[in-house]
Amino acid sequence: MSLTTLIHGRTMTETVSAASNEPIVRISNVSKVFGRGAEATVALQDVSLEVQRGEFVTVVGASGCGKSTLLNLIADLDQPTSGVVDVRSKTAFMFQEATLLPWLTARQNVELALKLTGLGKRDRRSRAVELLELVRLEGSDDKRPHELSGGMRQRVALARCLAQDAGIVLMDEPLGALDAMTRDHLHDEIETISRTQGLTVIFVTHNMREAIRLGDRVILMGSAPGRVVYEESIPMPHPRVMDSPDVATRAAALTARLKEQGHTHVG
């Protein structure tokens, strides 16, 4: 299947290796402007993007490139100023901060998400315990957020995200605040879980190597105004190692590409 991205009137075509049926997310010529008149800020300009069912897409860009705005549009937390956002599945969201509710235990935080999906009271507890086991937090069910480490808190957030029973998981720099070792562990787990559960993941990061470590496809975004400048499928086998030379080489090439796009825009 061919995917088309419009960049400044130019057309670029990439081949997508993932599933070959209908795209689960289709964003067509979407722009998002905040404010009006002289104070208006263009957060996204003419962004087009398709994501296939089961695909793991990573989005990279400097801060202010509209990555989070893009996720908010896909999650239906915000509406585009123009263009069409077509999302064919329920979405779940994972933030940079774990955002666990401090008055609830780890298990209760997961249970709240289950409750809001309409799961009956009797099944909630056992399902929450299952999900916490899935993210390797067995035995920490009754801990409160402040008793957990940063990595464990993000694991709870991951379990809660899975509890929403959504086909698409949106991740907004969820590991940005973690130390390298914890982050590596969570890469492995997010990758394994998303594949075994058949999830579509859109993962936003500012770290190019993290994007290559995880993504079936990497999308580069430029800032002011936010737009897609380039995208590339990553054909390397999974699981990849973030510190490997292969990843580093690709990261350097893509980073150069991003800078070059930034220059052409500014110049």
Partner: protein
């Protein structure tokens, strides 16, 4: 129009956190000794003033005599009947203030125009000395229970409403966003996220509301004396009229201790809530 957080700090916070020690006896001792010391200091100062002969002994009795009177007072039916009346009024008034204050707080926090109109009025009511309401209350209701309850509710409800408003104001926006992401509707957003998040501020509103309710009640019982119905406030007034200084002071001690006990309950509940959320220093 924002509610100043400092308004909501508890008026009296005598009960301090017990330091984490090993074993119950140590904890209890650590909890008791500051209070015991405070009592010894007060009684000592009082006794010294009595010894100086500043006022005659029938006006300012010694602590010993007062405590003796307190002890014998505890054996009279009149005292227990007065205590019962006062506590019943306190509980009824506070419960009413709780319901009214909470409801007003939620509505005002949610409805923006109302917020602009009423928000500062609530803070204004909070600064209004409750005793200033009594003449009006007596005109409206007469010398009866309703007049007292009216003023107790007016004293306590604004603090409680302010606690709710400030709590809802300070709910982190990320929690609200989370609620939307999880698909919470308005009811669920409030029940499961906003109100629990506002709890610490709500509890300090309740603590302050209690202090105001207790003060208003005592003022009310001094002013609105209902025949054949002894209360702690009425007992104070009688003790003054019949120049029974030891009885007067003994009753004052009871009022002080009751107020502190209830405040202590609120404080310890607030501390438990903060602790569960990891808001206390370990």
């Amino acid at each position: 129009m924002s509610v100043d957080g400092s308004v909501l700090t508890p008026v009296v916070d005598i009960v301090d956190a017990p330091p984490a020690g090993s074993g119950w006896p140590r904890k209890i001792w650590a909890w008791i000794w500051p209070k015991a010391l405070a009592i010894v200091l007060v009684l000592g100062f009082w006794q010294v003033v009595v010894w100086t002969g500043w006022r005659p002994i029938y006006v300012l009795p010694s602590p010993g005599e007062t405590l003796q009177t307190l002890w014998s007072m505890l054996g009279t039916e009149r005292f227990w009947s007065a205590l019962q009346t006062t506590l019943l009024r306190a509980v009824t008034g506070f419960a009413l203030a709780l319901v009214i204050g909470t409801a007003i707080g939620i509505v005002v926090a949610r409805v923006r125009p109302l917020r602009l109109a009423v928000g500062s009025l609530i803070t204004g009511l909070q600064t209004m000395p409750s005793i200033a309401w009594f003449p009006l209350a007596i005109l409206l209701f007469g010398l009866n229970e309703q007049a007292i309850l009216f003023v107790v509710v007016l004293g306590a409800a604004p603090s409680i409403a302010n606690g709710v408003i400030s709590g809802i104001d300070h709910v982190p926006p990320s929690f609200v966003r989370l609620g939307k992401v999880l698909g919470a509707g308005t009811v669920s957003l409030y029940r499961d996220i906003v109100l629990p998040a506002a709890m610490p501020s709500y509890i300090s509103g309740l603590t302050q509301g209690w202090a105001f309710a207790w003060r208003s009640l005592m003022a009310g019982e001094l002013l609105v004396i209902i025949a054949e119905k002894p209360s702690l406030g009425a007992n104070l007034e009688f003790a003054r009229q019949f120049s029974k200084a030891p009885l007067l002071l003994a009753t004052m001690l009871v009022i002080l201790i009751l107020g502190m006990l209830v405040d202590g309950l609120f404080s310890s509940y607030a501390r438990r809530v903060r602790h569960r959320r990891g808001l206390t220093a370990s």
